[in-house]
């Protein structure tokens, strides 16, 4: 990086032979630790059940064998996927609208309870979601949403709001006041300023919120497990759970489900790698 600018800097300074060797070695070690489990899953999913019993775990599959994939894709996988997409899209849209509105109020509107309410909402980040599980389960049953994809929307939006409001409020505070005043001179009222100035300028903040929460919600397990019961209404993480019960000892089939359920995010990641890493970085720092 900097070594191209100044010859003195970079890793060619003295005392760096250790760095020069240890850095790649450590990097490769962790690479093995990270990727070996994935290689194991992918390899096993391409084997037949007989092969897993007869040959060694680390033996390559005899031939590329897509029987498991075909079986899983014909066995209700798409229903889980559809539910996941539906729940995710609806939740993220609601999160973006609601949190940007609240963030605008905290960043720009003056009222006496601004700071206390904001602090209270931010404190909501440390609430362990499992404590809300029992009352939400009862509530969902009472209002008749139990075992529908809609049951997940409320808890998903609510648990995502504190972090999202926090990120967006920080973001909107940095939007210059002059733009707001210019819009007001043009005759915009509070809502107009929000809609025409703040929302369009908050693009990067909104995408951070969408990515950070999107990954978490796509993989969410416990609420989905408790609030839905039939496979027609369950999301993708539960596909693994349900198939595990269904296939019992068929290891290649189970690992095929693992591969297939992880695939959508990995594909999305391959396309939007830069964005996602940035979103996670920002989200991690704030969260």
């Amino acid at each position: 990086m900097s070594s191209s600018i100044t010859p003195v800097s970079g890793m060619n300074a003295r005392g760096s032979w250790f760095t020069r060797i240890s850095v790649p070695v450590l990097g490769l070690c962790w690479l093995a630790v990270t990727t070996l489990p994935f290689i194991f899953v992918l390899m096993t999913s391409l084997k037949t059940q007989m092969e897993t019993f007869s040959s060694s775990v680390w033996a390559l599959p005899e031939k590329l064998n897509f029987v498991n994939y075909i079986a899983v894709l014909q066995g209700g996988f798409w229903v889980y996927l559809r539910n996941s997409v539906f729940v995710l899209v609806l939740s993220i849209v609601l999160i973006l609208i609601i949190s940007s509105m609240a963030a605008y109020a905290f960043a720009r509107l003056r009222f006496r309870l601004n700071k206390p309410i904001f602090a209270l909402i931010v404190a909501g980040m440390i609430v362990p979601i499992h404590i809300t599980l029992i009352p939400i389960y009862l509530l969902t049953r009472n209002i008749g949403l139990y075992d529908t994809p809609f049951a997940l929307i409320g808890p998903y939006v609510a648990t995502a709001l504190p972090v999202s409001i926090f990120i967006l409020t920080e973001f909107m505070r940095q939007i210059p006041k002059e733009l707001e005043e210019a819009a007001k001179l043009d005759g915009c009222r509070t809502f107009g300023v929000f809609w025409k100035v703040f929302l369009p300028l908050s693009g990067p903040g909104l995408s951070t919120v969408a990515i950070y929460n999107g990954i978490g919600l796509w993989n969410e397990f416990i609420f989905a497990y408790v609030l839905t019961s039939s496979s027609a209404n369950r999301t993708l993480p539960l596909a693994v759970w349900d198939f595990q019960g269904q296939y019992a000892a068929d290891i290649p089939a189970i690992l095929t489900v693992v591969t297939l359920t992880s695939l959508p995010l990995i594909v999305a990641y391959a396309f939007g790698q830069e964005r996602i890493v940035k979103g996670m970085m920002a989200g991690a720092l704030k969260g």
Partner: protein, 334 residues
Amino acid sequence: MSCLLETPDKPVAIPDGNPQEELTPLHHNTHVIAVPGYDRFKSLKATIPIVVFLLPAVLFLVVFLLYPLLSSFQLSLLDWNGLGSGERFVGLANWLRLAQDQLFWKSLGNNLLLAFFSVLIQMPIALILAVVLDQASKSSRVLKILYFLPLLMSSVALGVLFKNVYDPNFGPINGFLSAIHLDGWTRDWLGDPRLALGSVIAVVCWQNIPFYMILFLAGLASFPKELSEAARLDGASDSTIFWQIKLRHLQGTIRTAIMLAVIGSLRYFDLIFIMTDGGPEGASELMATYMFRTVFSSFQLGYGSTIASAMFMIVTLVAAATMWLTRRYETEVK
């Protein structure tokens, strides 16, 4: 002055400064009397957008976060299976039971072990990897993509994956040990009460290290390059620069990371539930898994709520203590 003239019967003993003091409230008064209606109207008009903008967020948070929180404490006073209307108010009986419940204290101990090892294992490895990625220039893009993968997986997928990895008969770990003739080292990783918790903690670390690595990377990215250049010109070695300057720069980030790891460990649930469900014989039980089984397997909704409420109090207490100990971390992250 005019005030004094109009009220001649006032005591003469008033000190010099008084007329002014008397003037100010009067002045203030007239101002208030002249505008209250307008002021109220104006403030009402200003309140409407505030309410409109905050209402949806407040509504969701009250219904799905605040109400459940309070309701949990209320439910903890009941004896109820959660199904019929057979609930019975038992006062603090559940809380007394909790205080004597060996399994609860054991699970709290496991939570603390998880917190301790999470910090001890994850922080150094994540920090080292962040430094590696920060230094490696071109190859880091590919590495970053691959390192990142565990974060994209759902806990269920990971749990099922590692259950197979740990499988005593068909798993790759025992397979590998046999292949290099270390058959004596093969174990029933999740089935042995002495090993179960450790085996799962290893996976928890594997899953979370990329997250903290990203956190530290973001911290390192904000490190001003000029600082290390200047230090190098002054004759500082790479290791000095790292230990003396960069690590100090990362202090705030490290505090944040420790705080997140501790809180995350105290409320941990997913991988334990999926891989061991607290077993064998409660060896890997956590507060959250114990709560879950109490409610959804033993149908003791009241007692389960007691565990949940206790968990909330413990997490809040520890969070506050950690926050207090590490002072205000937020300002330093930026």
